[in-house]
């Protein structure tokens, strides 16, 4: 072809290069060879790559088609990426169906479970609805979520609604008197959604009996094996000395429905998954939970590896933390609950345990609720150092065991040492809560400063970060969203192992002394040899004397 041009009159080169007269004419091929060159070039472009099987011609064609279809801005800047995308798209087709199925499966399953939540609501029929419309233990989760949302606390509306439906399932399956959404505890692999529940009177015993039967059966099998072993041991006459170690008495857990076990807790990992009941908490677990700080993994059967060793697995640790959080942060506006008038006399251990709703409750204004902490009270008993809410002297319980040992002296000493532990009584106002260093135990704020007429009073706990409470008129509630740990400004230092126990009492019979050193031993040996040698000489003299005597006798 002609190369450059057409030249304008004002440009140099105008009129110089006429076809047939340009300086490159002898180099430019004529039309036929031009066509050949084009075909050669095209054949080169159509050459398939030995590595990928693509060819440049098709690739360029695809790329330009894509660009012309999509018309991205500044295509020249992203041309390399477009080229990569086109190549990638080539390979995707083959693996398409397989890959998609594998990848989306977990989301599909989860979606199925969530859909099942909605299905049941319709499936069980209208008959049950009529019965239950009067009173249902189901709390209005969405209403509570609305109030907490005003403070910026809470889960997304979707999740709250799913939890609502999951609680409804729980209420229909189990015979439940009261139910409350307690909160959510985050974990490493999965999270826990927790519901606080009270069974109807009498219903609870049936479930417990079933559980206890299983436990006693296993215990009996264990006992049977032990008895056989004892018999075997008795046959052996050489028995190692039995240890005189008496472990400290185990403090029994509080009965279901009282103290730390007042409520029963159900957990699930996600709404839609089945609810699992948490076992009741024992004082030993609470005492140990105070000393350790561990993240929850999300699996209830995961072991809790810690020092001091936690008596139980993650389900027990979770239950212990829930008990501690509830005891420390469940609060209500003053006057909402009052002590039942029948329980006029205080028990010996101090403190009334039963409270009821006050029908004459007059809600305070939001400003009053926010300004002074004494307008809020704890309505859950606090847990004593012992691990129970009601103090129990462990010595009294073990009277039966002690008859065998006849250790009356020890008994008296111990009962003097163990003093009754007293905690703050029920319905104590929050102003009595101790702060940590210079931080008050609670931070109170109205939910909004712009519209005080409809604001709610919001309290955040500083001792258990994640515990919140709101009050607005007659409505109030508590909730927990967090990792399940107490706040401490100091770093957590794990307990040190106890000092090594003495193997035996050190007395005049057995005393440990240092071994003699080599020099002492050698000196002693030398002294002994001397004594022996002296003795031998004496003996020799004696023998000689004897021989002399004998000789004399013989004479």
């Amino acid at each position: 072809e002609r190369g450059h041009g057409p030249y304008q009159p004002h440009e140099p080169g105008y009129g110089l290069y006429q076809p047939g007269y340009s300086p490159y004419d002898d180099q430019m091929p004529d039309l036929n060879s031009q066509k050949l060159a084009i075909e050669n070039a095209k054949a080169y472009l159509l050459e398939s790559s030995t590595v990928s099987g693509l060819n440049l011609y098709d690739h360029l064609a695809n790329m330009l088609t894509k660009i012309l279809d999509e018309r991205p801005t500044n295509a020249v800047d992203i041309i390399e990426n477009i080229s990569k995308d086109v190549k990638w798209a080539q390979f995707q087709k083959k693996m398409d169906t397989l890959r998609d199925e594998h990848e989306i499966l977990p989301a599909f399953e989860a979606a199925e479970k969530r859909k099942a939540l909605f299905l049941r609501a319709n499936g069980e029929g209208a008959e049950e609805l009529e019965e239950d419309i009067g009173e249902t233990p189901l709390p209005n989760v969405m209403e509570t979520a609305f109030y907490f949302e005003q403070a910026g606390i809470g889960l997304s509306k979707d999740e709250s609604y799913h939890i609502f439906l999951a609680l409804k399932n729980l209420v229909t399956v189990h015979p439940i008197q009261t139910c409350r959404f307690w909160g959510k505890i985050l974990g490493l692999e999965m999270n826990y959604i927790i519901a606080e529940v009270q069974y109807r009177d009498g219903e609870e015993e049936e479930e417990e009996e079933a559980e206890e039967e299983e436990v006693t059966e296993e215990g009996e099998k264990g006992m049977g094996e032990l008895e056989e072993e004892d018999e075997d041991e008795e046959k052996e006459k050489d028995e190692p000395p039995k240890s005189t170690y008496k472990p400290p008495p185990v403090i029994p857990k509080e009965g279901n429905g009282t103290g730390a076990n007042k409520y029963v807790y159900f957990v699930c990992n996600e709404p839609g998954k089945p609810w699992v009941k948490l076992p009741p908490v024992t004082p030993a677990q609470i005492v140990c939970a105070r000393k350790i700080k561990k993240f929850f993994t999300g699996r209830l059967d995961a072991p809790v590896v810690s020092f001091p060793p936690f008596p139980g697995n993650e389900a027990n640790y979770l239950r212990a933390q829930i008990a501690r959080i509830s005891a420390g942060t469940q609060i209500s506006p003053i006057g909402f609950y009052q002590f039942a008038e029948e329980e006029g006399d205080e028990d010996e251990d101090g403190g009334r345990e039963i409270y009821e709703e006050n029908p004459d409750f007059q809600p305070l204004s939001v400003a009053e609720m926010v300004d002074s902490l004494s307008s809020w009270v704890h309505h859950v008993q606090s847990i004593l150092m012992q691990g129970r809410c009601v103090w129990l002297n462990p010595i009294q319980k073990s009277e039966e065991e002690e008859d065998e040992d006849d250790e009356d002296e020890e008994k008296e000493e111990e009962s003097e040492e163990l003093q009754q532990e007293v905690g703050p009584p029920l319905l104590t106002p929050l102003s009595e809560d101790e702060g940590i260093q210079n931080i008050p135990a609670w931070t109170a704020q109205p939910s909004t400063n712009l519209i005080p007429h409809h604001a709610a009073a919001i309290l955040q706990s500083n001792r258990w970060p994640g515990a919140y409470a709101f009050a607005s008129g007659r409505n109030f509630d508590n909730i927990y969203f967090g990792w399940g740990h107490k706040y401490s400004p100091e770093n957590h230092s794990p307990a040190l192992p106890p000092p090594v126990q003495a193997e035996y009492p050190s007395g005049p019979e057995i005393t440990e002394t240092t071994d003699p050193t080599v020099e002492e031993e050698q000196a002693f040996k030398a002294a002994q040899e001397k004594a022996l040698a002296g003795g031998e000489e004496e003996e020799e003299e004696e023998e000689e004397a004897a021989e002399d005597d004998e000789e004399e006798d013989d004479d």
């Binding site: 889960l155 979707d158 999270n191 909004t448 969203f481």
Partner: protein
Amino acid sequence: MEAASLPAGLELVAGGGVGLSPEKRAVLGSSLLLLQRDYRFERVWFWGCIQGVRGAYYIAEGLGPDRAAPRSRLYSLNCVEWNLLPPATKEMVAQAEQLKGRFQGDPSFEYANPEINAEDAEGLIEDGKELLIKEEARLVATIEQIDRAVGIIPRGAFVKTPLGSVHENRNFEGLSLTEAKKLSSYFHFTEPVNLKNKTLLEKADLDPSTDFLDSLEHDVPQGSWTVQLEKGGTVVVLRSLLWLGLTFYHVPMTKQYGYVYFGTGEKNLDLPFML
């Protein structure tokens, strides 16, 4: 997270239980836009909220043309009026690391630090500096520490041009589900520290335009990130255990991602005991 994706993003990180009230969300929509106009930022990120004992700080960051350049940080007590924070210096960070306890909620609060007195008293007295640390300085240092330690982005979201500046990658279509569950597909969005220590074999696989940052794989201690699928497996949520409250979300195969901090602004030094 990007100011523009604030409504959707807040829904996705709500699994942690802490978020923003409707009032704050409404006001942030407009006040962040105004910030962009006033300070001529190209992008405005809502960084999060640090809870003090008496009040909370809401933090926003503004980015210029080079996304990897030091960001301007602003704080507000009510999400309406914003104040620019001074850039963080090493001394500020070193001093703030010695402070323990909650933020007070008052930017002019001064911490009396008896620990510094013994060692650095001489040095400081010579310079004429005060031994008191203001809460504002502590705030700056804490935000800088959190960004440096746990501010993350998905791999491929940002590209480095040959000139050294960093831009969003317009071809980033999101991580696939399998990639999204791996810690190696997320990078710290800060100066890389470990990049040079990789073996030659690993370096050969890297793409210099997208792999110019440290990944989360080698974070110490191991296990300091939790990766969870939430909302029925549609969102990947990463939570940091070193700075409790930092939440990162990403919807696989889409361009939605971001991180936000809702917490007390304290480092979790007990992490090794808790794992």
